[in-house]
Symmetry: C2
Amino acid sequence: MYSIGDLSRRTGVKIPTIRYYEQMGLIEAPERSEGNQRRYEKRELERLAFIRHARDLGLSIEAIRDLLALSEHPERPCGEADRIANEHLAAVREKIARLRKLEGELERIVARDGDHKIGDCYVIRALADHSMCESEH
Amino acid sequence: MYSIGDLSRRTGVKIPTIRYYEQMGLIEAPERSEGNQRRYEKRELERLAFIRHARDLGLSIEAIRDLLALSEHPERPCGEADRIANEHLAAVREKIARLRKLEGELERIVARDGDHKIGDCYVIRALADHSMCESEH
DNA sequence: GTAAAATACTCTAGCGACTATAGATATGAG
DNA sequence: CTCATATCTATAGTCGCTAGAGTATTTTAC
């Protein structure tokens, strides 16, 4: 039996976050002690570790809910789980691509600034004038 | 004189977002028509374009407020604007680095899944067991 | 056995940067 | 003048937590 604090220490998920996941239906409401405190079994520990890992990988609460539901039906085909993971991978790749463009713009802006006055500041001018950009964004 | 809709069409910033920027103090409260509707000058159009551009580049409202304040004092040295741009560049680079790691993990997870049942699904198992990961995250 | 310290409880509000809705009013074209 | 479209304010919702207040319980030390 673990208290919410034990669970938090062992999974690295903060206490209010655990309660939040309960509210969101990612984990079931656990048993309570006589004094109304949450008491967890090992099962919940593993489930929470799964959630933590998936969140670290950037999956949404929604996606995690789906994956958890799937994992409770081991006899069904796993194409759906694949689909969720693949979709997420695509989203991550797109984010990277967009950030690389921004990186490029910012590099150009930063690179050429010397030691002069605002009125003549490349940072300010570059931000004000979109047409100075090299790529679309 | 532009209506808020004109401004929106010309800058690509949605109408409620323009009003939100006004609330946040990024743009001044404009004149009003007899019937209390917002009427903008060209100045506001340019300012909004600046804001839009900076947001696209991922700058926070806070940072943009700073830059706008700076741009209103052209006599001051521009080291401050430089600093903001540089800080932001560092943040973007860090974001990219983290996403690349996630991409790697997700690729590994997705790659090896064939056509089988949830009970034997790599996606699910990999998420449940952090030790299957190659790098820290 | 009791007091103090640590932990947990619920409830509410806040973050950032919007987005959506409802219900009322204004504007512009025909 | 009518009617469609545009705009107004105010409020609440989004996501995924996080923080705080005020109260209650559990654990530890003596």
